[in-house]
Symmetry: C2
Subunit: 223 residues, 2 copies
């Protein structure tokens, strides 16, 4: 099973073909669509009915709430005293209800930077950390993947020129091989974005002993 999770970030940062593709894939029984709070409205406005809606829906007006209730069969309400975010609620549904192998998250970037950083750092939390490699944050210029300590070989993604390695916490013995810029046994006490690296072959290898890594595929916008 795969899941698509739609958060409420600015729609101009969504990949331009996302909603077209979601409309085409509507009937794919192996793909579930989960709307988070305002993300549900974005989906409905593009003619897509999410399989599950989660949120506290505080940011929606009465008319918008009514639209959700009339259209979405499975609507779940976050408890006010919750100690997790609405986005994490959506990710839990993808993990537990749908047992997803792959979870693509849109609408996590842009707008308020405190919101984006909640999303970027959420995969280091105890409940999500062990599932880190299942998740991708995607917008029109970036794909962000997450890794626990270990040794990895990653593939080039067509159309994405740049590759960055970002240790999101204290990290030991980071090694990057078979890339334009290699790195050997680097230790960092604080986060660093090793940006603007590139693939020189079809694969790049990296490894690290402790910490947590975000790998960002990115591209410039077509002018």
């Amino acid at each position: 099973m795969r899941s698509i999770v739609i958060l409420g970030g600015p729609t101009e940062l969504f990949p331009t073909d996302l909603f077209l593709n979601l409309n085409k894939q509507k009937k794919d029984p192996n793909q579930k669509i989960i709307g988070v709070d305002h993300g549900n409205l974005i989906l409905l406005n593009h003619g897509i009915i999410p399989d599950v809606a989660v949120g506290d829906y505080d940011s929606l007006n009465e008319h918008e709430k009514k639209e959700l209730i009339q259209n979405i069969h499975d609507i779940r309400f976050a408890q006010p005293e919750k100690d997790f975010t609405d986005s994490e609620f959506g990710l839990q549904v993808a993990l537990e209800d749908f047992n997803s192998e792959k979870i693509k998250i849109y609408g996590a970037t842009g707008g308020r930077i405190d919101h984006f950083l909640v999303n970027l750092f959420t995969f280091m939390k105890p409940g999500l950390k062990k599932f880190a490699t299942k998740f991708e944050l995607i917008d029109r210029q970036n794909i962000i993947k997450f890794y626990n300590p270990g040794s990895y070989e990653i593939q080039r993604v067509s159309g994405y020129k740049y590759l960055a390695f970002v240790n999101l916490m204290e990290t030991k013995n980071l090694i990057i091989k078979n890339a334009k810029y290699e790195l050997y046994n680097y230790n960092a006490r604080f986060p660093i974005s090793w940006s603007s690296n590139e693939f020189v072959k079809d694969t790049v290898n990296f490894s690290f002993d402790t910490g947590f890594l975000a790998v960002i595929y990115s591209k410039d916008l077509d002018k």
Copy 2:
């Protein structure tokens, strides 16, 4: 002395009145304008001539380079083998050449996330860390300020509803007082974005013993 540093991020994220204000303040002898790489072109396109241009200018074509050389008196070229970014080059000019008390940075957000994270994490680097409180990253929805361990009282900023505390590295004994959501003696091994807090008085107090903190003032966009 104050400095304004203009990076090459997407111009649609700049505060809408920035260039109007810069044009008005052109003749302020206590304010210097520093363009970084493509940021110089953005300035010239808005009728503003930076006091200093820095960069390797690799992203500019010949016509654009010529425009820079014809218009800007003080153009400085980054060395190819440099171990700092063009942005850091610009910040060094603000600190060392202009001895700036306050340095406001625009064009640091949006677009490629690896670039944004370079800018967000740069103030933890040894050369910049002790000057952290001099810097602000600003876009149309966010103001980000930076703090070394200590005890602080910060002021409400008109128009910015939300306040977030983001420990960018392992942090001990974080305390937030006189805010909508208070926090006591929190220890975090990895970054967390404590988002969507709010002022309830004109000031909020916070303190922490070790680590490094970003404080983000943010607002929703007017609809």
